[in-house]
């Protein structure tokens, strides 16, 4: 298998100046995730309220469930009125909606995107595919249980869930954050080795550092 994207190479600037690029060093940041301790009392409560009222969703559709997010954005269901909005990059977002089935190839990209998101971050798993594999339970290429690879905050059942179900799920997530139970990122940091071992078990050509924040 080729590893071109991680090999050292020389590129030339418009002026013809050679620039050496070592992708593993330049494009990835290693290390381990850190556990974020909650601040005391009322400050954390205020922060949680603020977080829950402006959930920014990463615009990354992994499976067929991405279709259900389009009507959510548009005027009929209009999720923006609840403070949800879709962002183009992981750095700006706090919610990762895993929309439907996840193939192994996509899972690798999902993990990298998840690790690039800033703390605190939440995962909403949509559809029965993320719970037990759904109709793809016997596929050679799609995962069965998302919670073995990423910490999941809210599951939304259905195949496909309607946009109303998604709104209800986001509502549940809001309540969870306000109660201070939205600790997925800490869970990921605490059980990092377990998650990583599960991920590496199925992603056989793991050619990037373990933690790509």
């Amino acid at each position: 298998m080729s590893k071109e994207h991680t090999e050292k190479r020389i590129v030339y600037s418009p002026d013809g100046e050679p620039i050496e690029i070592d992708p593993i060093k330049d494009y990835f940041e290693g290390g381990r995730p850190e556990i974020r301790n909650p601040r005391n009392g009322i400050i954390e409560k205020f922060a949680n309220w603020a977080r829950s009222e402006s959930l920014w969703i990463l615009g990354f559709g992994t499976g067929c469930g991405a279709i259900e997010m389009r009507p959510l954005m548009t005027p009929r269901f209009d999720a923006y009125r609840f403070g949800y909005q879709w962002r183009p990059t992981p750095r700006q977002s706090s919610v990762f909606v895993i929309s439907g089935y996840l193939s192994v190839k996509t899972l690798k990209r999902v993990i990298r995107s998840y690790e690039q998101m800033q703390n605190p971050k939440f995962v909403v798993a949509l559809g029965s595919c993320t719970i037990n594999g759904g109709m793809y339970y016997d596929s050679y290429n799609t995962i069965n249980r998302l919670d073995h690879y990423l910490p999941v905050d809210v599951y939304i059942t259905g195949c496909m869930p309607r946009p109303e179900a998604l709104l209800a799920g986001f509502d549940h997530l809001k309540r969870k954050i306000k109660e201070g139970r939205g600790e997925g990122a800490n869970k990921y940091a605490e059980n990092f080795d377990w998650y990583k071992a599960n991920q590496k078990k199925i992603i056989k050509d793991w050619d990037i550092p373990d933690y790509n924040w």
Binding site: K105, T142, K204
Partner: protein, 175 residues
């Protein structure tokens, strides 16, 4: 269509000429003649477009069946050319020099069925399955349920019902 097939039949051995529709025929040929037959069809008989290249695993006969579907735009007809390969060490000549897009099909067949198209560009690169090291998954002796259960942590408690039986039980319990 008939005239073209008659004309081609004089030069190449064609078996099992099957009429599916007025404008769709399937023929079988031998592995060694395939590339020259397709070249003939493309350059002389106007089948200028490769619609698809696909494989079927005929495990009962121990062969892979490759189908090259060609389209003649002037006469509005399609012709499927079939060829059988041994399942053991399946190998086929590449046709990427006739149509560049055939390389993508061949790359996929290499990955999913393990059919070797030597000389085709980038044929050994991962196409969909990155880092796959087991048996090619589209072969019919690959047990996908067993693989999934061993690999993907199945959630316990999953059960299935036969839809017909289940609905009968539910709607007419007395019968």
């Amino acid at each position: 269509m008939k005239e073209i097939l008659e004309k081609v039949k004089r030069v190449f051995p064609l078996q099992n000429i099957k009429k599916q529709r007025e404008n769709l025929y399937f023929v079988e040929t031998e592995k060694i003649h395939l590339v020259s037959l397709i070249t003939n069809l493309r350059d002389i008989n106007g089948f200028k477009h490769l619609v698809l290249l696909t494989a079927v695993d005929r495990i009962e006969n121990g062969v892979f069946q490759l189908t090259y579907l060609l389209n003649n735009d002037e006469l509005k007809i399609d012709l499927g050319v079939r060829v059988f390969l041994d399942r053991e060490n399946a190998e086929m000549e590449s046709i990427h020099h006739l149509w560049k897009q055939a390389a993508t099909y061949q790359r996929e067949l290499r990955e999913m069925f393990g059919i070797n198209f030597s000389g085709s560009p980038r044929v050994d690169k991962a196409f969909i399955l990155e880092g796959w090291d087991g048996m090619p998954p589209y072969r019919r002796d690959f047990d996908t349920l067993k693989y999934s259960e061993e690999t993907y942590f199945p959630r316990p408690g999953r059960s299935t019902n036969d839809p017909a039986e289940y609905m009968k039980q539910k709607m007419y319990p007395d019968e």
